[in-house]
């Protein structure tokens, strides 16, 4: 196997995001009480894109929040230097809302666990669903996604890298590479 292999290109990503948007609308039978919360950094970008897709489909603008889960990580006592904390921006009341949590890659499930804890500190939503661009398996917690862009079987010595224009200043793509 080559050290780097391309899983998705720009077009794949665009179509996948659109599909997830459709699924979200379909499953929730519309967009009433629906809010999106993206996990920093790439989840936030994807949440924004999904919002735009839903706007096209339904003609309705959803509230989008950005969640920084750093302070809820379960490995803070293990790291040598503290990860940089970024702002969490949820400028709406999440109580009784249907929240779709958005992230780029679903792996061990620990990030999502942290995000769930963080969200609950903002109030009591009616429900929380999960949308991810890539599910690479190897869960360490009982967590699954409601919307998956692509399932990619991986081994533990590989990394899935999601590249998005907004954050990486490069064309969108998803690659699988050998862990350094």
């Amino acid at each position: 196997m080559t050290p780097v292999s391309k899983i998705m290109d720009k077009e794949n990503v665009r179509r996948t995001v659109m599909r997830i948007a459709h699924e979200i609308v379909e499953k929730n039978k519309g967009v009433e009480d629906l809010c999106l919360v993206g996990i920093r950094t790439r989840g936030a970008v994807l949440a924004e894109r999904i919002k735009q897709c839903i706007e096209k489909i339904e003609g309705h603008t959803l509230e989008v929040g950005v969640l920084d889960i750093t302070l809820y990580r379960d490995d803070l006592t293990l790291v040598d230097t503290q990860p940089i904390v970024h702002e969490t921006l949820i400028n709406f009341n999440i109580a009784d809302k249907k929240i779709v949590l958005v992230d780029d890659v679903l792996f061990t499930g620990r990030t999502i666990r942290a995000a769930l804890d963080a969200l609950v500190d903002f109030g009591r939503p009616a429900s929380i669903q999960l949308a991810v661009l890539v599910d690479r398996g190897h869960r360490e917690l009982p967590i699954r996604a409601d919307y998956v862009g692509k399932n990619i079987p991986t081994s533990l010595n590989q990394d899935v890298k999601v590249i998005l224009k907004e954050t990486d200043e490069k064309e969108d793509e998803v690659v699988l590479e050998k862990r350094k």
């Binding site: 809820y72 230097t81 503290q82 904390v85 702002e87 500190d121 903002f122």
Partner: protein, 311 residues
């Protein structure tokens, strides 16, 4: 950049980038304090000791709240004036506390350099909550944060620090912080309360407050200890209030958007008249709010780094 420090003793030691990282981190923590659940689990399981050899209500409360909002456990250890005057070894006390397996020590002492001494002898992270007339880094950080928040920048601003500079750790830490971030600092106060060679720190001294008020963007007032008059530094409180206090009248020549700051508690009618302290230019209460966020940022950043023993 990565945060690598284990202790916070003075802003003199910090680079501009480090100060900016703390201020940036504090922004996130300010948001936490606006939530319904004002608590995050970041420092769960950590123990933070408030070791106060000098009494303080505000700073200690602010640190304690900051620690609790990060889910750390806190204990208070106030050493009464009596046992200190008996010459109790500071180090001995600190070592006793550390033996209870604490992670961080927030220390205040009337003698400059005590936080350094603890840092050199302990494994716990040491945070200076005020040592003598030397340094009060978290106060300066919250002041910088407030200026940044209100003015959008610190660089290029004219800031005056007014009052008893000689005995002020707040002034010293702010001088280092402000000049590092590119502000111009003017000191104003009675000549008897101006330390020798202070200009060498890169500041200007001007004894005419009216003149100072005209040109500055920020007016940082210091608390005047009433005992300075008894110590003969001042002829009278009345004269001090007239020459170095700020009231509506004196503010007439000031910029419209001047910020009035004070580390508290304010002697109303001395440093500030009541209408100015409660006026629209005053950000005194916001300083208090920001204090918690800045201290959360400091505790969070220091909690992660491992101790490098001093050479």
């Amino acid at each position: 950049m990565d945060w690598t420090r284990h202790d916070l003793l003075d802003l003199q030691d910090l680079t501009r980038e480090e100060i900016e990282l703390i201020l940036e981190t504090a922004k996130s923590f300010k948001e936490v304090s606006t939530r319904d659940v004002k608590k995050v689990p970041a420092l769960r399981g950590k123990t933070i000791v408030m070791l106060f050899f000098e009494s303080s209500t505000r700073t200690r409360a602010s640190f304690e709240l900051a620690a609790k909002r990060l889910s750390a456990d806190t204990i208070n250890f106030s050493v009464g004036a009596s046992s200190v005057s008996k010459g109790e070894s500071v180090l001995d006390t600190a070592k006793n506390i550390e033996a209870m397996n604490v992670d961080m020590i927030v220390v205040r002492h009337k003698s400059a350099g005590v936080p350094q001494m603890l840092r050199d002898h302990l494994d716990s992270a040491v945070i200076n909550a005020g040592d003598g007339c030397r340094a009060h880094p978290t106060q300066a950080l919250l002041d910088l944060f407030t200026i940044q928040e209100k003015k959008g920048r610190v660089e290029g601003l004219d800031v005056a620090i007014v009052g008893d500079i000689l005995h002020s750790r707040v002034a010293r830490s702010n001088i280092f912080g402000l000049t590092k971030l590119g502000a111009r600092v003017t000191l104003c106060g009675p000549s008897t309360l101006m330390p020798k060679d202070i200009e060498k720190l890169g500041v200007t001294v001007d004894y005419d407050l009216k003149n100072v008020i005209k040109k500055v963007d920020v007016l940082m007032m210091l608390r005047l200890q009433i005992e300075r008059q008894r110590e003969k530094f001042l002829p009278s409180m009345r004269e001090y209030a007239r020459e170095f206090g700020v009231n509506k009248e004196k503010l007439k020549g000031a910029k419209k958007d001047i910020l009035i700051m004070h580390p508290g508690p304010t002697n109303r009618g001395v440093e500030l008249s009541a209408d100015v302290a409660d006026g629209e230019c005053s950000v005194i209460l916001e300083q208090v709010t920001n204090g918690v966020a800045v201290r959360m940022a400091v505790l969070y950043l220091l909690a992660g780094t491992k101790h490098e023993p001093a050479e």
